[in-house]
Amino acid sequence: MRVTLVARPRAKPSLPVEAESIIPQNFLRGTDLTVYEGNKERRLEELFFITVEGPAVSPDQVEVVLMGATGRVKRVGEYMNAGRIVIEGDIGMHCGNFMSGGEIVIKSNADAWLGREMRGGRITCMGSTSHNCGAGYRGEKRGMRGGTIEIFGGAGDFAGEYLAGGEVRIHGSCGDMAGIEMRGGLLVIGGTVTRPCGNMTAGTAVVLGHVNRMLPTFQYQGVNDEVWDGKRLKMDVWEGDVANRGKGRLLVAVGK
């Protein structure tokens, strides 16, 4: 089954839409769903032109396609466990919160908190994402625990904050403090990053580009030969954050 949601023009396009109901499993019971626009509850069809093609008996047979101005539509894919969501344009904050299975493909950019506290499945973002990708929300001690997030562009600050499992791969550059408070998992950054991995206790962070302002609380372990993204590289290996008695590994390409 393929459900296509095309955003209708809105009188106040900047009002955020809380759309946690847009997940594949919900469409098995039809399209009679509601979302909030600001503080008003709306039927899904008030905000989207909806077309449904083909049948489905389980959520993994459902593909949801979002088109049009969806940059303010939040929480799409929250708690999804199977199926596929394809977003043709930008997507709002908290896309893929807590998802445990299935796939989300974003053809353009994603706003903050992409895949926050995700447990499984896969998110691919062809553009860039904003802050706190794969992170734990305010006060939470564990962020993403499983699954994969791949970003072909860059990411904002705090990418992979509290990362505890799974993989976050960012091909471009990150802002400040990627991988801080990491508890586990793998964070790979293709480009430049500033002050990575403060307070990390476990897990591995890999920087293929340059590190600005390396924190002084990492212990140097020497140079290793490593293979990342099919490339053989010499990498500096650091362990830390020693300020927190951490045993995380931070690998940085030599000479970048």
Partner: protein
């Protein structure tokens, strides 16, 4: 306002010695009366257990410490959210909910009176502001004196009358209800990176011991004729082997008041540990109960229930020790010349033997204390568990089978470290009524305000539960007991139905109950040169700005006594 007639209620009222009589209760103008007057609103309570409104004699719901718990735990605020509905505000939070969240959830369980367990005098104004935002319960504040410099100096000088005078001035200045001692001397020592390890250790720089502070305060409390006794959180909370400190403390207590206990031992579970480390910790509940049976002492359980919660106490050094165990976020706070505090979120797990032992000790205390008037139900909310777990605790106390079922989920070593699974006792409805309202009213000394009973002249605070004691066997029908105590059919507060089937239906208007002991003018600390000098020298607040104005207590109820000075 027309009266209310509650018909055919199954009433248990231990103070009036009514144990399961089907009767009518007439209410008018906020009081229980003989006759409800013409055309009363009739509430059919047939087949419903009807008790005086619940009273929590030790909970943390208001004040700076609770608020700090709120803002250091945004994840907790997300854990329990309800939308605006009718007159009910939005609420959020699970272990440290918003004030309205606390008030609505307590009201749904039939609670109409709460005692905030620890108010720092310097921070009283904020506590009273939160009291007015907890509108469905009458509020009382334990006032902290554990590290009070002036008190400790007077104790050192063996001047009990001066101790009493300082307490009288402070209680009336901050509109507090009773004396609270939290790890007496320990929190002050913590200001110097130390703690006290027994009741005969010296408090650095003051030349006094916890035992001297406790004894002096018990005496001063009776000189002031305060309604409640000294409310004590013993030294060495949560330390393996601390039962010895607790027993030594119990030995200090004289019998000074025929109407009530001379000492209230709060959250006794945290003070009943044997062993010497976390590895060999075991239960000493039996020793504590033996010491308490027949003594002028009342304790509350401080039951631990499994799950997420937040610990908060004026016991700063204890919270630091917890931080060293959990390495989670934490806070510590010093309150000038008075006390301190700490907060840390915790998770009590069935997989942790230590946590299983704690769970068992709380229940053992309640089941091994012969007289239910001496061991009241509490979790030291939210330290042992959020108060919404009370119905589960009641069910555990009423059903051996339920305890055994729970036991199968726990670390199997629990049965070697504690006696919980060998205790047959199952508490009766009446004993539960004592442990959740009548006992509290008596221990707090507020039966005279009409609290904790339903006789003519009582405050019309009622909890009508959808539980038929004639039709339910609590030893077997555990889920019915839990569901019944979780949501009253009606909660009546000062003669108004405030909650129905778990929904609050009116705006609340609570009262704050405080104590004032009148002392002769030579004992007025407001005129005492040394005392006023302390303010100008050491406090960040001027003495004249320190007292909480009565405007902060829109419906203050003052219990006035004449000090025997």
């Amino acid at each position: 306002m027309s009266g209310i007639l509650v018909r055919n209620a199954f009433v248990i009222d231990p103070i009036k010695r009514i144990s399961g009589e089907v009767m009518d209760i007439a209410i008018r103008d906020g009081w229980v009366v003989e006759d409800a007057g013409p055309d009363p609103v009739v509430i059919d309570a047939s087949g419903c257990l009807t008790l005086p409104g619940g009273i929590d004699s030790h909970t943390h719901v208001c004040g700076t410490k609770v608020n700090f718990g709120r803002y250091m735990s945004p994840e907790d605020m997300r854990a329990g959210r309800t939308a605006r509905r009718g007159v009910m505000h939005v609420t959020s939070g699970y272990s440290v909910p918003t004030t309205f969240g606390n008030s609505y959830r307590y009201s749904a369980m039939g609670y109409t009176t709460l005692l905030e367990g620890a108010m720092a005098p310097l921070e009283a104004r904020h506590t009273h502001e939160e009291f007015t935002a907890t509108p469905h319960q009458d509020m009382l504040a334990n006032t902290l004196f554990d590290g009070n410099w002036s008190v400790m100096e007077a104790v050192r000088d063996r001047d009990i009358k001066r101790v009493a005078a300082i307490v009288a001035w402070t209680l009336s200045a901050v509109k507090g209800f009773a004396i609270k001692l939290t790890n007496p001397g320990g929190t002050e020592a913590w200001g110097w990176g130390q703690d006290v390890r027994g009741i005969h250790d010296q408090v650095p720089h003051f030349g006094v011991t916890p035992a001297e502070i406790i004894s002096a305060m018990i005496e001063a409390n009776e000189i002031l004729r305060l309604p409640h006794s000294v409310h004590l959180h013993c030294n060495n909370l949560g330390v393996p082997g601390n039962y010895r400190t607790t027993l030594a403390t119990i030995d200090l207590v004289p019998d000074l008041n025929p109407l009530r206990q001379s000492l209230y031992l709060t959250h006794a579970q945290f003070h009943a540990y044997g062993g010497s480390t976390w590895r060999d910790i075991d239960s000493r509940a039996e020793a504590i109960c033996q010491a308490v049976n027949g003594k002028p002492i009342v304790m509350d359980m401080g039951q631990v229930m499994f799950g997420r919660t937040t610990t908060m106490t004026a016991d700063g050094p204890m919270e630091w020790k917890l931080y060293m165990l959990h390495h989670n976020k934490w806070s510590n706070h010093d309150v000038e010349l008075e006390t301190g505090s700490g907060i840390i979120p915790v998770y009590y797990s069935r997989k942790s033997l230590v946590n299983c032992v704690m769970w068992a000790i709380g229940l053992e205390l309640a089941l091994l204390t012969n007289d239910p008037w001496q061991c009241l139900l509490s979790t030291d909310n939210p330290n042992g568990a959020p108060f919404v777990k009370y119905p589960e605790i009641i069910a555990l106390l009423m059903s051996r089978r339920y305890r055994e079922q729970e036991g199968t989920l726990l670390d199997p070593r629990t049965s070697h470290r504690t006696a919980i699974f060998s205790i047959d006792r199952e508490l009766s409805w009446e004993e539960i009524a004592v442990m959740t309202r009548a006992g509290q009213a008596k221990a707090l000394g507020i039966t005279g305000l009409g609290k904790g009973h339903l006789g003519v002249g009582a405050a019309a605070d009622l909890a009508i539960y959808p539980l038929d004691p004639d039709g339910i066997d609590p030893a077997v029908q555990v889920q019915e007991v839990i569901a019944g105590f979780s949501r009253t059919k009606y909660t009546i507060k000062r003669g108004r139905v405030v909650a129905r089937d778990g929904e609050v239906i009116v705006e609340g208007a609570n009262a704050t109950i405080w104590s004032r002991s009148d002392v002769p003018s030579q004992y007025d600390m407001g005129q005492d040169p040394a005392f006023t000098e302390k303010f100008s020298q050491y406090y960040t607040v001027r003495m004249k700005n320190y007292p909480v104005q009565e405007a902060y207590l829109p419906r203050g109820v003052c219990i006035r006594t004449e000090a025997a000075l």
